[in-house]
Structures are given as structure tokens and as C-alpha cells.
């Protein structure tokens, strides 16, 4: 739980994203090359679909990793904020400090990307070697097809976003005068700088997205072309959620936290969550996105399958529906897996950060008579509420998008004109398990950090 933790987390996230991007682009390019040489893939459509999928998942990975890396750098800066302020007090110029930190970010970005490229290329090569010459789809492709020059763009974007994240994480301290910097160091630790107002732009995006989705759902009764409206609506809504996350997620968290008792560890956890709404929402955002993507695909498939089963007098039995869903879950799960891991790292970094910054408060509360177990429970509850808020939000957003997608494509082909919305129990189970694992992962280290010391020693060290 130190600057090193933050640096390592950032490095891991950058490497994972780079590996993901390389793997995704090279496998897509391989698949495209393989397909092109089969009669099956002569048309433009498969290539287009593959391309769209690859680009969207690359963008999602980029967005999530930028959010997580920004948070990780906030951790690094937060643990060094006094040191930075002190250096400035002793005469270091703001510009030099800023350059030092941004350079550190860029170095980290380069290193992580290099590691990621090596790992991603290695896996892609292994996949190629394992599948080449077995008469399968990849038979027509050569190893040269693994290299996709298009990968350069997202990789450069990744490095740039790392440097930017490092820069932004330290902006507050570096913008201030040296004396103010010391004061700001405290203000930032206490979260006085976070605003949770929903900005008009975000509100407009959300509203537009929702309206488009409703139009798509109704339009779907008439024509499958409504899916284009749905696509636009989903994209606008997603951008709205991204820009408004600082305002939206804290509200979900607060709603869940309201169900908690008002005393003991639960009160302490609720207090901690209220204190840093923006940080909490950044932590949860990656999880929301991953869960929403998986949910969207699964709900869409399940709804379509069920509606068709009903339409055709139940001739398609439940077993087949479940089988299709399992396949979709597996494919989308694999595509989303790395993004989910990145999100998990993000969540645990943030819980670590929040614990670290509140070390003195936690120690004070323990001196005032909170026992060790309750102190640990407070952190556990904080992590649980955050991951519950994130998974529930993802589940809700994904379900809506999934159903609207299914409805807009298929509504007009059904007698009832309405696709029956289905959220499979299996999905909810998997998501609940994910939330549980996330909570555990994100709270173990901070709990140990808090519990390792006696209250007095923790106080002295904070």
C-alpha cells in the first residue's frame, strides 16, 4: 500500500491492455486472412463484423485502462503528495516537478506496453502454431498475417494516456503555490475537491440516449432497421454514463449504503464512501463496463432464444436456449475477461488508496474505542458496497441495452411484436460470484494493512 503498489498496478494494467490490444488485433487479422481464403468469407460482411468487434473492444479496453491508470497515479501522487509539496517548498520549480512526474508516467507506459506487446504476440503466435495446418479456419493464414499495423494507433494512445494520467494525477499540487501545496495536500486527502454534480452535457447525453433507445424498441416492432437507432442510442448512453460517472455512481452507492445500519463498522464505511464519491466512481467504472458488456450480449441472446421458443410453440426446448447462452457467455466472457481483470485491479487500487489516505482517521477511530474487528469490517463493507453498486449498475445497463438490441432487430418478426426480456439466473449467479471475488480481492490488502498494527503504532505511522 504505497507508491510502489500504485506503480505496480499501473504497470500491470498497461501491460495487460497492450497485450490485449496486440492479441485482439493479430487474432482478428489472422482470422480475416484465414476467412478471406475460404469461400465462406468472400463477402465483405464477415470482415466488417470482425473489424467492428475488434475496434469496439479495443476502445473499451483503452477507456477502462485509462480510468484505472489515472486512479493508480492518483494513488502514487497521494502517497507522495507531501514529499512533492515539500520539494517545492525547498525550491524545486513546479515545471520541473511536473515534467519529472509526466516523464515517469511515460516511462512506465513504454515499459508496460513493451512487456504487453511481447506477451500478446507470444500468445498470438502460440495460438497460430497450435491451429495452423489442422485443416481449420486458420489454415490459409500465414504467420505474417499476425502483424497488424493498425495496432500501432491504440498502442500509442495507451502510452499517451499513461503520461496524461500521471500528469493529471499531480495537477492540483503542482498548480498551487509552494505553501498552498502543503495545504492542498491535506485538502486532497480529505476529498474536498470532488464534485458530484451531474453536468448538463452528461445529462443531455443520458436523456438523448434513453430517448433513442425507446424509439429503437418501438421501431423494432416495425422494422429491423431500428437496430441502427438502438446502436446510436446505446453509444450515446454509454458516453453519457462515462462523462457523468462522477455523479451517477456515487448515487447508486449511496442508495445501497442507505440500507446499511447507521452504527458501527457500517456507519464508518458509509462515511468513507461519502467522503470520496469521485474516486469511488472511478474505481467502479471499469467493473460497470465489463459487467454491462457481458450482460448485454447474454440478455440479448437469451431474450431472442426465448422469444423464438415461445413463437414456435416451445419446440425449441430450454436446454438448447441454455446451450446457446453458455456459448455466448463463454465467447463474450473471453473477450471481456482481460477488461474485467483490469477493472478488478482498478477497484483494489482504489480501495487501497482510500484506506491509505484515511490511515490516520482509522487509527484515531480505533483509539477512540473501535475494535480491530470492526475496523476491518468497515473496510470490507466499503469494498462490498462499491462492488455491489458497480455490478448492479452494469447488470441494469447491460440488461436494458441487450433487450433493446434484441427487440429492435427481431420485434417485427414476432407475432407479439415484443421480444420477451430474459435475464438468465445463470448470468446473475456468475455476476454475483464476480462481485464476491472482487470484494475479497479489493479488501484483503487494505484490511491487513489496517490490522497489522496496534492503534497507537498505526497512528504514529499514518
Amino acid at each position: 500500500m504505497s507508491a510502489r503498489t500504485g506503480t505496480l498496478a499501473a504497470l500491470a494494467v498497461i501491460a495487460l491492455s497492450a497485450a490485449y490490444i496486440v492479441l485482439l488485433t493479430s487474432l482478428t487479422s489472422l482470422l480475416r486472412a484465414g476467412l478471406a481464403r475460404t469461400p465462406f468469407g468472400q463477402g465483405e460482411t464477415p470482415e466488417l463484423v470482425l473489424g467492428i468487434l475488434a475496434v469496439s473492444f479495443t476502445i473499451v479496453a483503452l477507456v477502462v485502462s485509462t480510468v484505472v491508470v489515472t486512479n493508480a497515479f492518483a494513488l502514487v501522487t497521494a502517497t507522495r503528495i507531501r514529499e512533492i509539496a515539500l520539494r517545492r517548498l525547498l525550491g524545486a520549480s513546479a515545471r520541473r516537478e511536473r515534467r519529472r512526474i509526466a516523464a515517469q508516467g511515460a516511462r512506465l507506459g513504454l515499459l508496460g506496453t513493451a512487456v504487453g506487446i511481447a506477451v500478446g504476440a507470444g500468445i498470438a503466435l502460440a495460438v497460430f502454431a497450435a491451429n495452423a495446418g489442422d485443416g481449420g479456419m486458420l489454415d490459409g493464414a500465414s504467420a505474417a498475417d499476425l502483424v497488424d499495423p493498425g495496432a500501432i494507433v491504440p498502442l500509442v494512445a495507451l502510452i499517451a494516456s499513461t503520461a496524461l494520467a500521471a500528469w493529471r494525477g499531480s495537477a492540483a499540487v503542482l498548480d498551487a503555490s509552494p505553501v498552498q501545496a502543503l495545504g492542498l495536500a491535506t485538502a486532497q486527502e480529505t476529498g474536498g475537491l470532488e464534485s458530484t454534480r451531474l453536468r448538463p452535457a452528461a445529462a443531455a447525453l443520458l436523456l438523448t440516449g434513453l430517448v433513442l433507445l425507446v424509439v429503437a424498441a418501438i421501431g423494432g416492432m416495425l422494422t429491423p432497421l431500428a437496430v441502427l437507432v438502438g446502436l446510436a442510442g446505446g453509444t450515446v448512453l454509454a458516453v453519457g454514463i462515462l462523462t457523468g460517472s462522477n455523479a451517477l455512481l456515487p448515487r447508486v452507492t449511496a442508495l445501497i449504503a442507505r440500507a446499511l445500519p447507521r452504527t458501527g463498522p457500517a456507519a464508518a464505511a458509509a462515511h468513507a464512501l461519502r467522503e470520496h464519491p469521485a474516486r469511488t466512481s472511478r474505481a467502479a467504472l471499469g467493473v460497470v463496463i465489463s459487467v454491462a458488456i457481458v450482460t448485454m450480449f447474454v440478455v440479448a441472446t437469451a431474450s431472442v432464444a426465448t422469444s423464438q421458443a415461445i413463437e414456435y410453440e416451445g419446440s425449441t426446448d430450454a436446454v438448447v436456449v441454455t446451450e446457446i447462452m453458455l456459448v455466448v457467455l463463454a465467447v463474450v466472457g473471453a473477450l471481456t475477461g482481460v477488461i474485467a481483470v483490469i477493472s478488478a485491479i482498478g477497484l483494489s487500487t482504489t480501495v487501497a488508496l482510500s484506506t491509505r489516505l484515511r490511515a490516520r482517521e482509522i487509527a484515531t477511530t480505533r483509539i477512540l474505542g473501535q475494535n480491530r474487528g470492526d475496523a476491518a469490517r468497515a473496510i470490507l463493507i466499503e469494498g462490498a458496497v462499491t462492488s455491489a453498486a458497480a455490478t448492479l449498475s452494469g447488470l441494469a445497463v447491460g440488461s436494458v441495452l441487450g433487450w433493446v438490441g434484441a427487440q429492435s432487430v427481431l420485434g417485427s418478426t414476432l407475432q407479439s411484436q415484443l421480444v420477451t426480456p430474459v435475464v438468465p439466473v445463470l448470468l446473475v449467479g456468475v455476476i454475483a460470484a464476480v462481485a464476491l471475488v472482487l470484494t475479497a480481492l479489493s479488501t484483503i490488502a487494505p484490511m491487513r494493512f489496517v490490522l497489522a498494527d496496534s492503534p497507537m503504532r498505526a497512528f504514529a505511522r499514518a
Partner: protein
């Protein structure tokens, strides 16, 4: 618990005592006794100051008294409980119910208002246990906090923050309040005001205050002054002037 009265019905009643208390730090090679055989008692309704040079063991003694640290040997008894017989959980509960703390750095929760800070300990238990609101109101009144209850610590001066901290320490009517350098971050006048208030609030009540300080002026507000050196209590005096305390401290320091 009884309400305070100037007649001081508790004078002389012991709230905490130590017997042959010893706390060593370090490994076998280089062991130092930070507290070296201290036997003292602290009384209710009085402010007892512990003075002494840096490193003389004042803070260590206070931590042992509050059950925040465990002695190498010897015993602590607080409000009728032998601390050595209590586990972590019971010690935390005892701190919660029977002790109050005032820190040098105030240590209020930055995100909470002054009133929320005063009431923070109510929330630490399994069930909410509201303090006696009448007592709370009188504390707020006597500490001059009425106009600033809705403000956050960042919007309060150091002296105001320390007064909030004192209200927090006293709101649940503890048996004893521990204060480590409570005026260390305040200017002389503000520190004097804060101590005056603290002394007035406890004098004659059933609550005892144990205050650690470097500052002879601060110690002059105490009813009793214990001087420590090298882990031992080397001098004990009743209420004295700042000048006398300063002279004695100098003498003790030279005598080493």
C-alpha cells in the same frame, strides 16, 4: 454517574493507578526501559500533568494507562478494571465507554461537521448510543461552540478544533480523559483558553484528566504535576506557577 458539582465529592477518588509499571523497547541486545518502575495514582475531578524532557517516557506511560500499549511487567488499573486481564476487544470497549482522548493534532474527521465529530463515538458501538443531550448542550455552550456546529474542521481555527475535540472527549462522560500535548499546535493564548476550559469542565466532576506536556504554562493549569526522567517519576508537586514548574524542569534536566 453523577453530575458535576463544585463541592468536588470525588476529590481523592482514584480513577487510574499503576503498580511497578515497566515497558521495555528494543531487542535483547539493546533494551531500553521507556517506563521504568512507575507506581502512581490519578484522581477523579483533577487535572494531572506529566512533564519531562523529550524521551522521558511520558507518552509511553499514557499509552499504557489507556490500554493502547502493553507493559513488559507491572499492572494498570483503570476505573476498576485491571487492564492486563482484558483482551483487545474489551480494551476497545473500555476506551469507547470510559475514556476520552485529546490529541496534539486534533484529529477530527475532515468530512464531518463539528457536531458530527462530537457525536462520532456514538456510532462506534454495535448500537447507536446517543449521549446525554443536555450534557452535550452544556458542553457546547461552555466551550463556545454553539455558532460553529455545522462547520467542518477545515473551516475552524486550531483552538476551535481543539475545543470540538474536547467536547468529543467529554460527551460520553468518560472516567478519564487522556491528552497528549493538547496545546502543542496552539499559540500561547489559545492554548491557555483551551486548558482553562478543560480544567473547569472536569474540576469537581468524577472525570480525571491525564495531560502530557512540555509546556510549563500548560502544566500550571494542572492540579498536580508529575515530572518524569528516564522512565521514572522523579518529582510530584501540587498546583504550581508556570515559573516554578519551569525552574523545576530545568533543575531536573540539569540533574541528569
Amino acid at each position: 454517574m453523577t453530575t458535576s458539582s463544585p463541592a468536588s465529592p470525588f476529590a481523592g477518588a482514584v480513577v487510574a493507578r499503576t503498580r511497578a509499571l515497566r515497558r521495555e523497547f528494543g531487542t535483547d541486545g539493546a533494551r531500553v526501559a521507556a517506563v521504568d518502575g512507575v507506581t502512581v495514582a490519578f484522581e477523579r475531578g483533577r487535572l494531572t500533568a506529566i512533564v519531562g524532557p523529550s524521551g522521558s517516557g511520558k507518552s509511553t506511560l499514557m499509552h499504557l494507562l489507556a490500554g493502547l500499549d502493553h507493559p513488559t511487567s507491572g499492572d494498570v488499573e483503570l476505573d476498576g478494571h485491571a487492564l492486563g486481564e482484558l483482551d483487545e476487544r474489551a480494551l476497545a470497549a473500555l476506551r469507547h465507554e470510559r475514556m476520552g482522548f485529546v490529541f496534539q493534532s486534533f484529529n477530527l474527521m475532515p468530512a464531518l461537521t463539528a457536531l458530527q465529530n462530537i457525536r462520532l463515538p456514538e456510532q462506534l458501538g454495535a448500537r447507536p448510543r446517543p449521549h446525554d443531550r443536555e450534557w452535550e448542550a452544556s458542553l457546547i455552550d461552555r466551550l463556545g461552540l454553539a455558532g460553529m456546529l455545522g462547520r467542518r474542521p477545515a473551516e475552524l481555527s486550531g483552538g476551535q478544533q481543539q475545543r470540538v475535540a474536547i467536547a468529543r472527549a467529554l460527551a460520553h462522560r468518560p472516567a478519564v480523559v487522556f491528552a497528549d500535548e493538547p496545546t502543542g499546535n496552539l499559540d500561547i493564548t489559545t492554548g491557555r483558553d483551551v486548558l482553562q476550559l478543560l480544567a473547569e469542565l472536569v474540576r469537581g466532576s468524577d472525570c480525571g484528566v491525564v495531560m502530557v506536556t512540555h509546556d510549563p504554562t500548560a502544566a500550571s493549569y494542572a492540579d498536580r504535576v508529575l515530572s518524569m526522567r528516564d522512565g521514572r517519576v522523579v518529582r510530584e508537586s501540587e498546583r504550581s506557577s508556570a515559573a516554578d514548574i519551569a525552574a523545576a524542569m530545568l533543575e531536573d534536566a540539569v540533574a541528569r
